[in-house]
């Protein structure tokens, strides 16, 4: 598959990738596996398995992984760049439109209504991320400790996450 083809395919995918990780994976599978026959279904599954554990946006990492499988580092760079381009351009347009239109006093109600929904959605994200973790006492303790440290002692969120990761490594070693 040529770099140009990779670029065009992922540009299209980037413009159509609505609806989060699951929907995007299905789209990638249809485009890359079923239609072009470039890779197998297993490759897409592997891409998810091996990037899920890494920090960062998983959708983008699946794209980068598949880009590498198709055409090495260049394939990966072009796939990732092309995939991000449509949403980045759209975001710049929205950000430009935000100033002067949406941030006007007349639109205060709209911003408040949106913010209320955003809080609800973040609460949902919190529940979804927490659900698989509440089985063990250590994750629960780490979650509560980070919450309190960041909220009350004003510790940087990044340090709280890094320190908790270190706790994960240390306790893991003592167990084995």
């Amino acid at each position: 598959m040529s770099l140009l083809t990779i670029g065009l395919i992922f540009l299209r995918l980037g413009a159509l990738a609505f609806g989060g990780l699951g929907a995007t994976l299905a789209l990638i599978e249809r485009e890359i596996v079923a239609r072009r026959g470039g890779l197998s279904k297993q490759d897409v599954t592997d891409a998810l398995t091996y990037t899920k554990l890494l920090p960062g946006s998983t959708v983008v990492q699946v794209v980068a992984y598949i880009g590498w499988r198709l055409r090495g580092w260049w394939g990966s760079a072009i796939a990732t760049g092309a995939f991000l381009l449509p949403s980045a351009v759209l975001m710049v347009l929205l950000a430009a439109g935000y100033a002067g239109i949406i941030d006007s006093p007349a639109m205060l109600g709209v911003r408040q209504g949106v913010l209320a929904v955003v809080v609800a959605m973040l609460l949902m994200t919190m529940e979804r991320l927490a659900r698989p973790l509440i089985a063990g006492w250590l994750p629960v303790a780490i979650g509560i400790a980070s919450f309190l440290l960041v909220l009350i002692l004003n510790i940087s969120a990044v340090w709280a996450v890094v320190a908790s990761g270190a706790v994960g490594v240390l306790t893991d070693r003592s167990r084995s």
């Binding site: 890494l54 499988r69 710049v92 408040q112 209320a116 609800a120 509560i144």
Partner: protein, 172 residues
């Protein structure tokens, strides 16, 4: 300097976002509202909404923050910052799958970091919640949105548009 600051902030955020792009949202909130005052809470809310409405990853919110702070070049710095490290990591993973990703230490680090992200998310929900509910009808909007998102397959973009519409009526 602002460009470098944006770039570094988003590189750091992406490197500690264990749990994917949505796990990065509270870190973006901490960095852009609490630490730097780049965004007001209501601007952040709209930025999150835009990042759900647009295709692609939620972390594309970096583009909004960058543009809002420093125009087109700011958008570029923040966007490259948000995705360059995850891109390198994913490509390395594709190249050396077993050696790298099945590393037990990385796994252990992730298992410690994931619950911390949830804790930080709690702080974000609290601090945004303080701004989000000027009156009771907005609490109702949030409760209905939560219910719909939790128990029906309603698309987030639709919820955000409906929330905005309700707010428009309330704000008149």
């Amino acid at each position: 300097m602002t460009h470098l600051h944006l770039f570094i902030r988003f590189v750091v955020i992406s490197l500690v976002a264990f749990g994917g792009g949505q796990a990065a949202l509270p870190l973006v909130e901490r960095a852009a509202i609490h630490d730097t005052a780049w965004l007001t809470p209501s601007t952040f809310g709209t930025a999150v909404a835009f990042s759900y409405i647009t295709p692609g990853p939620v972390l594309i919110i970096a583009t909004f923050v960058g543009f809002h702070v420093a125009g087109l070049w700011g958008a570029l710095s923040a966007t490259v910052g948000a995705f360059i490290a995850p891109w390198v990591l994913a490509t390395l993973a594709a190249q050396a799958v077993k050696r790298f990703v099945t590393n037990p230490r990385l796994r252990a680090f992730g298992s410690g970091a994931a619950p911390a992200v949830v804790g930080v998310l709690g702080v974000t929900v609290l601090s945004l919640g303080r701004e989000a509910f000027p009156s009771w009808p907005y609490v109702l909007i949030a409760a209905v949105a939560f219910g719909l998102a939790r128990w029906t397959p309603t698309h987030p973009a639709l919820l955000l548009v409906l929330g905005g519409a309700c707010g428009f009526v309330l704000g008149r």
